[in-house]
């Protein structure tokens, strides 16, 4: 548990940010993060440093859990129940995470031009600019090579740069 706790302390905040940005729902985001750390807890030694950083590993698990959610309706909120003791958030916690959803929405809203990017470039750009992953970590999360990630990132920045120069609120 010590290792898991250290991982949790280091990465839970970023993971929650990623989950609320991807899902837009506080309870679903909390359930995903609970599922990620349950998976870590139940698979000690599952992290292989040769395949990337702990952060990219955890984000990868979260991406996996999010992608599987629609197909595992019966399992939804079960992780939250195990870790948090209930399937719905208490009022204070709901408010805390709703504020993070609002912040995530606001952060993506100011990035003008994002909607015009292809999905793969958009997600990569957000992982790096909002979730603060390195390009190599983002590449591991998305299952692409670091060089492909760097190329896509450069392409995304090239597309967004003219918007920033025109004085739009785009922040690259």
């Amino acid at each position: 548990m010590e290792d898991t706790e250290a991982l949790y302390r280091d990465h839970v905040h970023a993971l929650l940010g990623y989950a609320v940005r991807r899902l837009g729902d506080p309870t679903e985001a909390a359930d995903v993060v609970a599922a990620v750390f349950l998976a870590v807890l139940e698979r000690p030694g599952g992290f292989d440093p040769s395949r990337g950083t702990a952060r990219s590993w955890l984000f990868g698990i979260a991406a996996h859990v999010i992608a599987s959610r629609g197909r595992r309706r019966g399992a939804e909120y079960r992780a939250l129940q195990r870790v948090y003791g209930r399937r719905t958030l208490a009022a204070d916690d709901l408010a805390e995470l709703e504020a993070r959803v609002d912040a995530a929405n606001a952060a993506t809203a100011v990035l003008a031009g994002l909607d015009d990017l292809p999905p793969a470039e958009r997600e990569l750009f957000l992982l790096v600019s909002l979730d603060e992953l390195t390009p190599a970590e983002a590449a591991a999360v998305l299952g692409i090579t670091p060089s492909a990630a760097r190329m896509r990132l450069a392409r995304a920045r090239r597309k967004l740069a003219p918007l920033a120069e025109k004085g739009s609120p785009c922040q690259t």
């Binding site: 839970v12 000690p44 590993w57 991406a63 629609g70 195990r82 793969a120 591991a140 999360v141 998305l142």
Partner: protein
């Protein structure tokens, strides 16, 4: 270490109380055994409608293989998905994505997406995992579990893929014999990180099978297998669609 918010503290307290679940590697085996036992009982209690050899034949009708690759990114119309529907009986292939939907008729056998001479759209739709094809010649693969396992491991290393990806890819190929399919399925279900998600489960055309998931690093891979015939009915792979 960063300070935790009150909610994050509560989650951590809950994690400390969680007891690690026991490993459930026996679950797929137990459920497979239960399914086999059930089939045996049905066979004994009720005379078979089909001849015994029919049970070993590939795929439930209609013989359509459905492969689907999901991107984790949502589009305005829903999740980005590329789908391939292969009908080995009528020799048609339907390629479908949010901005493309076309059915090809009279596709020569054996139908494989990356076979030379196939329409260019096939290659464009092929996911990265099919890169394994370039290194795998099914006919030359060994027919014993140990040797096949070693070959799969070699291909996985060469292509930077997980064993489960190579095995499911192999299982999606047409023309595999019943014994070879059984060998591949046995290897696949023994692969670390492969576990039962739901049984029974239905594929997109309503056929019944067992739904498995595979740990393939940051990607997600799940597949439905008809355990009676060891046929891969459908496969879902979360990946990034090349732009």
């Amino acid at each position: 270490m960063p300070d935790l918010t009150p909610f994050e503290e509560r989650m951590l307290a809950g994690l400390r109380r969680v007891e690690p679940a026991r490993r459930r590697r026996w679950l797929p085996v137990a459920l497979t055994a239960a399914a086999a036992a059930g089939l045996l009982v049905l066979t004994v209690v009720r005379p078979p409608v089909q001849s015994p050899t029919d049970v070993r034949e590939a795929s439930a009708p209609p013989a359509i293989r459905h492969l689907r690759w999901l991107s984790p990114h949502a589009t305005a119309a829903g999740p980005w998905a590329e789908e391939v529907w292969i009908d080995d009986v009528h020799h048609t292939v339907r390629l479908k994505s949010p901005d493309f939907d076309r059915t090809f008729a009279d596709v020569p056998e054996p139908i494989a997406l990356d076979r030379p001479g196939m329409p260019a759209e096939f290659a464009a739709m092929s996911p990265d995992v099919l890169a394994a094809d370039q290194h795998t010649i099914v006919a030359d693969l060994p027919r014993t579990a140990d040797a096949l396992g070693a070959a799969v491991e070699r291909v996985a290393k060469q292509t930077g893929r997980y064993d489960a990806e190579v095995l499911t890819d192999l299982l999606s190929k047409p023309g595999l014999g019943a014994d070879f399919r059984q060998l591949v399925v046995n290897l696949l279900l023994r692969t670390p990180g492969v576990g039962l998600l739901a049984a029974p489960a239905q594929d997109f055309s309503g056929r019944s099978g067992s739904d498995y998931t595979a740990d393939v690093g940051p990607g997600a891979l799940s597949f439905i297998i008809d355990m009676n015939t060891n046929t891969l009915l459908s496969m879902n792979k979360m990946t990034i669609v090349n732009q």
